[in-house]
Amino acid sequence: MNVISGCFEYCTVAALISYTASAVLVFVRMRRAGSVLVMAGFAVNLIALVSRGHIGDDWYFFPMIDEPHLIPAVIAVCVFPLIRGKLRTDAMTVMGLLVMTTLIAVISQADPPIPTIKGTPVVASLFFLSEAVATALFLMAGAVACAILPAKNPVKESWNGLVLWGFTIFTLCQILGALWAFIGWSYPFSWSTRHLLSASIWCFYGAILHLRYISMDTKAKALLTIPGIIPVVFMVYHHEITILLGGVP
């Protein structure tokens, strides 16, 4: 496959280096330099994503929004205000998540998928785009919830906003997904791993949104929010997990 001379592979590695360096800088309290490096990493990450769309002599949008490669870019955008904000622990944890997701993108380095008829409708692209944004927000919510665990008496449930926006976008994403499944496969919902995982994630974060109305310790609420990462990771990295377990994806 004639992909722009493997450009995306080098760019993803460059993004990983940039994100790691910025995480180190944020850790040593050099926030401004850290922000600049996150921006640089994001720019390289975008180049990597766009170059994935160049297959043969044409450009295709569908491979550009491959979730494992798009999620780091979404996290990079969201981490920017966190670095400049006052919540240093939150920023550090999300930076760790950013480095980890980029590392997975580098390790998996699968060739961009060959465009097929399934990916041609606009609704398919919108579905994956919104799903990547929503899952990135959910992963960040989990990371922020982890960040408050060492605190003695945490008060602020800072992951709530991330869960609310993640849930909103994920719900719209499910509608788009149902529409895509109907026009392509004739059913809006199927008894398949993908659909069940999506429903599981939706129910989980639906429950987490109601946590604020339930009298519970903030730490207990954080502990309840964290397991949401499991179905999200299982859904987004299903292909990679299957390969890791020695199965055929």
Binding site: G56, I114, I117, T120, I175, Y187, S192, P231
Partner: protein, 255 residues
């Protein structure tokens, strides 16, 4: 007495929270089971719940999580109904805002989706047929006969490889009452006629150039899903315009 206690328990938000968590856990377990037994579950997509019960009796261990899931979702539906009713009453007394209207509409849409899924699983029909160009084929369930007059497969060259980019066809449909219609479905572009939707199957292995796989589906639940989806979109818009810098106020407190 006990029934009254159960009723009051179900009308609180806390059981709803735990029911959502339980549904999430069951769906996750289900996803893993389906991943391991995908062939057994694929046929459920073309089967109504009544027929599925027969399968359940044959292999209860494989399908028991679904049975529990249906019970949890039923309880969740009742809980949402009662809690939303209580919330509507509270909002009526305290005064409605755009944000609160959004929250109510979202929960009503969720109930519509739950009801839609029940209707979807219990009613309708789905049939997959392989049609030969120029030959009339009868569907057993839908009482229709289909005759494809034209069949065209398109391919594109992607990096030196021929990639199939869909199939388009023209089919004449006749129903048992003598009605005739012509439809032009394509891959990823279904056609609608006589209350059915006609989808070109994406799986084309084993088909000759003169054959096409068509899925004929009738599902009354689709209308419920469309209303539910519209409700959710409006609910989010109301919620966004009712919160933050866009805040709108429309109500007065009732005494």
């Amino acid at each position: 007495m006990r029934r009254g206690r159960l009723w009051s328990l179900l009308s609180q938000m806390e059981p709803g929270f735990y029911l959502l968590l339980a549904a999430s856990a069951l769906l996750f377990v289900g996803a893993i089971i389906v991943d391991l037994h995908s062939d057994d579950f694929r046929m459920l997509n073309f089967m109504v719940l009544q027929k599925w019960l027969g399968l359940f009796c044959g292999r209860p261990i494989l399908y028991v999580w679904m049975f529990i899931l249906f019970a949890v979702l039923l309880a969740l539906g009742i809980n949402t109904c009662l809690c939303t009713g209580k919330y509507v009453r509270h909002v009526y007394l305290s005064g409605i805002t755009v944000r609160k209207a959004g929250i109510i509409l979202f929960h009503l849409s969720f109930l519509l989706f739950l009801a839609g899924h029940l209707v979807y699983e219990c009613t309708g029909s789905a049939e997959t047929v392989v049609l030969n160009k120029g030959t009339v084929s009868r569907l057993s369930g839908a009482r229709l006969s289909l005759e494809p007059a034209m069949l065209q497969r398109t391919h594109v060259d992607v990096a030196g490889r021929q990639v199939r980019m869909g199939t388009r066809t023209s089919i004449t449909i006749r129903d048992s009452a003598g009605g005739i219609a012509t439809i032009h479905p394509e891959s990823m572009k279904p056609a609608f006629s006589m209350g059915y939707s006609f989808h070109v199957g994406l799986h084309e292995k084993g088909l000759s150039d003169e054959q096409i796989r068509i899925i004929v589906r009738k599902s009354p639940a689709l209308c419920i899903f469309i209303v539910g989806a519209a409700g959710i979109v409006i609910a989010f818009l109301l919620f966004i315009f009712g919160t933050g810098p866009f805040r709108l106020k429309v109500s007065k407190k009732r005494s």
